[in-house]
């Protein structure tokens, strides 16, 4: 007995695919024609006309071939696909704009020099954004050191202790994630900077970033800890462990990769924050390794300052700064993915 050849009768045949492709082509031609003869103008008009015509033609075609239910399904399918397209268009548009404008300002030199001896209007061969990169990394590191313990301990309170205040704390943490960043900045300005330290510093900026970061870390960690099966907690306690030792030895190690993800989402939340840094860091032009004293630059501050300077060189600097910031955030996201995947493997 011979084995039959494996087939996939549910996939569209070559002729069907060609027809579908033909529908797209015809819709495109018709869309161009419609825009030419009617007063519609612009790129959006082409897209819009194409979309309407494509839905009409493909629906009629489907309806004729398979019936009215398939035709209705086709309308919804096209709407969903169009919505998805609209949603991702700005992302690609942003990426394209930033890369094409920023790449002109990228050279090896800008990663080795700061702006202490250059003004934003100087040619691109002088000055750089080393101080902004080190500043952003310092700010993020300080904020991380403060917010990770607080955020994770808050999550542990919500998932492990589940005390009387669980509901109000969960509510407040959720509300805190909606706090505008400028409010966090003004709070540190009026509560810490003016009455106590009386000088701009990186640490003041980190305090404001910490306020913004804690809700992200706490909420993500809470979700991660909730996924740890209760069996493991019971097994730990049944072996004679106290709750604290069970959490420290079993629950947290089991949730480790998720907690790292929470941390990195927290970083992504604050890496581009600008408003509190404008208020609190003083935005120096020199590499400043000390977060507790003296103004400290950062990538968002550098971008803001360069755009404000207005000259063509300064604008190019600003776009280059944006590109570097995006790459930094992107690297953090990739490392988060890698950490999570390595755990699964």
């Amino acid at each position: 007995m011979s084995t039959p050849r494996p087939t996939r009768p549910w996939t569209p045949s070559l002729i069907q695919r060609l027809t579908d492709f033909l529908v797209v082509i015809v819709s495109m031609i018709l869309a161009v024609a419609v825009v030419e003869v009617t007063p519609l103008k612009g790129k959006l008009a082409y897209l819009f006309a194409f979309f309407l015509i494509y839905i009409a033609i493909s629906t009629v075609y489907r309806g004729m071939r398979t019936g009215s239910a398939a035709a209705k399904n086709n309308v919804v399918q096209a709407l969903v696909a169009f919505a998805a397209l609209v949603a991702i268009t700005p992302i690609f548009s942003i990426l394209f704009t930033v890369v094409s404008k920023g790449i002109k300002g990228i050279s090896f030199g800008i990663f080795t020099r700061d702006m202490s001896l250059a003004t934003p209007t100087d040619p691109l061969t002088s000055g750089g954004l080393l101080h902004a990169i080190t500043g952003t990394l310092t700010l993020v590191l300080c904020a991380l050191i403060m917010s990770v313990p607080i955020g994770i301990l808050t999550a542990l309170y919500l998932t492990e202790i589940r005390g009387r205040f669980t509901r109000p704390i969960r509510f407040l943490v959720q509300a805190m994630s909606g706090v505008p960043s400028i409010v966090a900045g003004l709070f540190i300005l009026s509560a810490v900077l003016y009455p106590i330290t009386k000088q701009y510093s990186g640490f003041m900026g980190s305090l404001a970033l910490t306020i913004l970061m804690i809700p992200t870390i706490a909420r993500t960690s809470e979700e991660v800890l909730k996924l740890i099966p209760n069996d493991l907690r019971e097994a730990g306690v049944a072996l004679g462990g106290t709750q604290w030792r069970t959490v420290a030895m079993i629950v947290i190690p089991a949730a480790r990769s998720g907690l790292v993800t929470a941390m990195i989402l927290g970083i992504a939340r604050i890496a581009g924050e600008t408003a509190p840094l404008l208020l609190l860091t003083g935005g120096g032009d020199r590499v400043n390794p000390n977060p507790f004293s003296g103004p400290m630059g950062s990538l968002p501050y550098y971008i803001w300052k360069s755009f404000n300077a207005g000259s063509p060189e300064a604008i190019t600097r600003a776009w280059a700064g944006l590109l570097v910031l995006l790459v930094v955030v992107f690297i953090l996201f990739i490392s988060a993915r890698l950490l999570v995947n390595r755990k699964k493997a």
Binding site: R162, P229, D231, L232, R233, E234, A235, G236, V237, A238, L239, G240, G241, T242, R245, T246, M249, I250, P253, A254, R256
Partner: protein, 253 residues
């Protein structure tokens, strides 16, 4: 070592799930708890090692006397109780972040006990759980890499490492294939020489195979009650209560 329960009741919120359980467990015996789902068998064994209080809204009444002392008496260190009364759960639950060896010894770390020779204890526990020959060459592998039956025997080895005098088993074989079930039953028979074992099971053949005594629980609309307690041979051959006879002969449940 003696273990006795007196007038155990249990509630979840206002729901009375278990009523007046009085049982004395003979040293070195295996007692099977049988009965339909929802009759309070699992709740009962969880009151013995104080795991019942882990569930929000839980309440209880009565005494659990371990060597004559109530485990619910004020001032009792609950972690010490759970070291003396070990537990194996329905679903195998090895700790995912630990290797096989670390899993077996995890109880020592959790309860901060010191032992002189860890390797000896590790081998001894795995031997007694009937797992040593299968894992002796890969003690550094993760517990999750074992089959379901092996994972459950790993959990038994883990429970043995802190040297409990009583072992509670909550349907330990319900998630396992017949082969693994047989291995675990052999392990139970073997362990009963040195400790008291209480096993909840839905499998009546299993109760007949492994236990010396059997208690039949039933919730007849109200809270779960113990209908009959006797040597296993008697429960299955000549039950005194009509309801027990109906259950063990498979007429209901």
């Amino acid at each position: 070592m003696t273990l006795e329960t007196r007038g155990i009741h249990a509630w979840f919120g206002s729901n009375h799930v278990l009523s007046d359980i009085n049982l004395a467990f003979a040293d070195g015996s295996v007692t099977a708890l049988i009965g339909p789902s929802g009759c309070g068998k699992s709740t009962f064994i969880r009151t013995i090692n104080r795991m019942h209080e882990f569930i929000p809204g839980a309440a209880m009444a009565g005494e659990v006397l371990l060597d004559g002392k109530d485990v619910y008496a004020p001032g009792v260190d609950v972690t010490k109780i759970r070291l003396q009364i070990g537990m194996v759960f329905q679903k195998p639950n090895p700790f995912p972040s630990m290797t096989i060896g670390e899993n077996v010894l995890s109880g020592l770390k959790l309860s901060q006990l010191k032992v002189e020779n860890k390797d000896e204890l590790l081998e001894d526990c795995l031997q007694r759980a009937g797992l040593w020959n299968e894992v002796k060459d890969r003690l550094d592998a993760h517990g999750g890499s074992l089959s379901g039956g092996q994972q459950q025997r790993l959990c038994i080895a883990r429970a043995l490492a802190v040297k409990p005098q009583v072992l509670l088993m909550d349907e330990p074989c319900s998630a396992l294939d017949p082969g693994s079930t047989l291995r675990i039953e052999e392990t139970i028979r073997h362990l009963s020489q040195t400790m008291t074992i209480i096993i909840v099971t839905h499998n009546m053949q299993q109760a007949a195979r492994v236990s010396d005594y059997t208690a039949f629980f039933l919730a007849d609309g109200g809270p779960g009650q113990m209908i009959e307690y006797a040597p296993t041979t008697e429960i299955f051959a000549q039950p005194k209560d009509q309801r027990t006879e109906n259950y063990v002969t498979g007429r209901f449940g």
